[in-house]
Amino acid sequence: MTSNLPALVIIVPLLASLVAAGAGWFNRKAPFYIAVIALLISFISSVLLLAQVVATGVAIEYQMAGWPAPVGIVYVIDHLSAMVLVVITFVAFVNLIGNRQAVETEFKNKEGAFNALYVLFTAGLVGMTATGDAFNLYVLLEIASLSGYALIGLGSSRAPLATLNYLFLGTIGATFYLLGVGYLYIATGSLNMADLATIIPSMMNSSTILFAFIICLTGLLVKMAIFPVHGWLPGAYSESSTVSAGLIAPLTTKVTIYIMVRICLTLFTPEYTFGYIDPTDIMVAIAVASIIFGSLSALAQKDFKRMLSYIIIAEVGYMVGGFFLGNRMGVSGAILHIVNDAAMTLALFMAAGIFIWKTGDEKQSSLKGLYAKMPFTMAGFTLAALSVVGVPPTCGFFSKWYLISGGIAAGQYLFVGALIFSSLINAVLFFRIFEIALFEPFKSHHHAGDEEDKVESHHGETIVDPGVIESAQQYSGSDSHDHGAIVIKEPPLPMLVPFLGVCVLLLILGLYSGSIVNNIIHFAIPAGII
Amino acid sequence: MFENKIDEAPLWCVVPLVITASISVLLFFYPQPFLKLASLAVQTIMGG
């Protein structure tokens, strides 16, 4: 059983997507549970894998169907991929259980399709992360992308157009990657990453390899939506339903960055990437442009999810810039930020889901008075926001710490400045929301008075839990002279608890970032990088 | 402007300010704890 864990991580969601699609015809609730169970198994397996890798210190190589490398396709679980696997499966699992209500209402009669796509997308990402084969990576990339397009396309009425734009650019990106792999194959005759890594150092000067590197990297940069090829991202993420955005936004860009790290370090080897090509200056310049552009554009957004989307573009800049600093601090920061940013983005999109559940739309101006209405949700949201700003001891601070340290060590002061600038802009962005939620009285877009009923009837059943009512009474009891009668109404516990869990995780990740770096990331970076 | 009637703030307000005012005076006659701590700190910084 344990020896087959690497297969389990991907096969279970892959099969579950088929089962869920079929089960949807017979039972409307079954697909959801199938998806949850599959993701849970996948999550547990990846945690076990990570534990095993950390304990033994040796990468696990799993031969699919028993064919050895370099002929067969192998899955390689090392420190880096095990960690990213945990991130992917965790985000997928928590986002799904946290948004159960939204799934039931937004995808009525499409439960089978939605859950199948959801799990398939996760399977694609998991496969991309685990695979040790450059072409297999392309296939899984497309599996993830295609199910991602379908998930996003199920969103609002504007979603199909946004998705189509995403599809065009996504296809360009993936095809570029495929072309790059083709050139690699011409030059080396191999598709196995480990095999390639042994061949490439002997043919450093080959222009074919250089071309392959550039084309692969370009494809991945398009896929991760770095400035100036970011155009598809804000539309796609903000028009999709919140459940899908909560899955895709934290993972797609982050996994693509992981792929970039993997390709640059494992496939092309650090000697080639940083020693021979040395793309630091140009890549950091692109990253800086992405950070500054993303932050400034976020400032102009009125829609909450759209603002988050632009923040993601800036965060992509953090990671790309940090990685291409080429020193241990910078690369550590980039890899740590993959984990941290996934958690932060998940928390923020889950918050967006709760806001939409509460107010019915996603304009920032609809968040009026929410601190009084939902203190627990807003406490969690505040924590997530502060993490994005980079306030210690939340995790956002520590990845920024490594990134800035790396920037100083590499002498890239522009990058350091951009990071600080973006922190300040993020502070402005989120405090603007805090202000709206704190200072302006709660106003519903529904007719005054019956908004609570509206929300309830809109969502069919509302689960009222005793804790919420109790706290409502106690608040109105002790502070009865507060503005009129503000009734606290938190979202139902199945929605609130996962969200708050993720928010607390942001703190835990922050406090234990030292252990994460020392025990995992340290081993994920080749010794050649100092 | 005000009548010559004594009308202080609530007791909960007056007590603390009397306490802090007394401490302010007390510290003139008995500054030892703070003075010792400060000179100890200065000693570690400036040496000697």
Partner: protein, 161 residues
């Protein structure tokens, strides 16, 4: 003259590059969504052709083992140089390597075209078809929503609505 031979020697590369650019142009510059989708397909097909061409060797035969027959090998050995010109030497060696592993030491890999890129492209074609399907489905939804497939008209509607 040298330039000419350079171009001719890599004719398949030039073909795929031109096709790719045609596709990319349509993807970026065309206004109609279906034309964009067509461009995307051309773009993907260009890459498929590229892969197919790198697996091909002049005069080589399909990779089915010719047991007990060696005339093919002798006849085709002369074309080894052509294979090198195609830049596929390493590929050929690799194929030889792989076949040797399979236990058929007597078979000369030079006689066969490299099947791997072709097999890979089967997958890529499937991916391409799937992408095309999703894209067309989305285009239909867009048409239902806006009643048009022209991007500028859609944008006009978005601005007004």
């Amino acid at each position: 003259m040298e330039l000419f031979s350079f171009i001719v020697a890599k004719a398949d590369y030039w073909a795929y590059v031109i096709l790719m650019m045609v596709g990319l142009y349509a993807l970026i510059a065309k206004n109609n969504l279906v034309k964009k989708i067509v461009g995307m397909t051309i773009f993907q097909t260009a890459i498929i052709l590229f892969y197919v061409s790198i697996g091909y060797k002049k005069g080589a035969t399909i990779p089915i083992l010719h047991h007990g027959s060696d005339h093919g090998g002798e006849a085709l050995a002369a074309h080894g140089a052509h294979a090198a010109a195609h830049g596929t030497q390493e590929v050929a060696e690799q194929a030889a390597h792989a076949v040797a592993h399979a236990g058929e030491a007597a078979v000369k890999a030079m006689d066969y075209i490299n099947p791997l890129p072709h097999v890979l492209m089967l997958t890529a074609i499937v991916v391409g078809v799937a992408t095309l399907g999703v894209a067309l489905a989305l285009a239909m939804k867009v048409y239902k929503e806006y009643g048009t497939l022209e991007e500028d008209e859609i944008n006009q509607q978005l601005r007004n609505g």
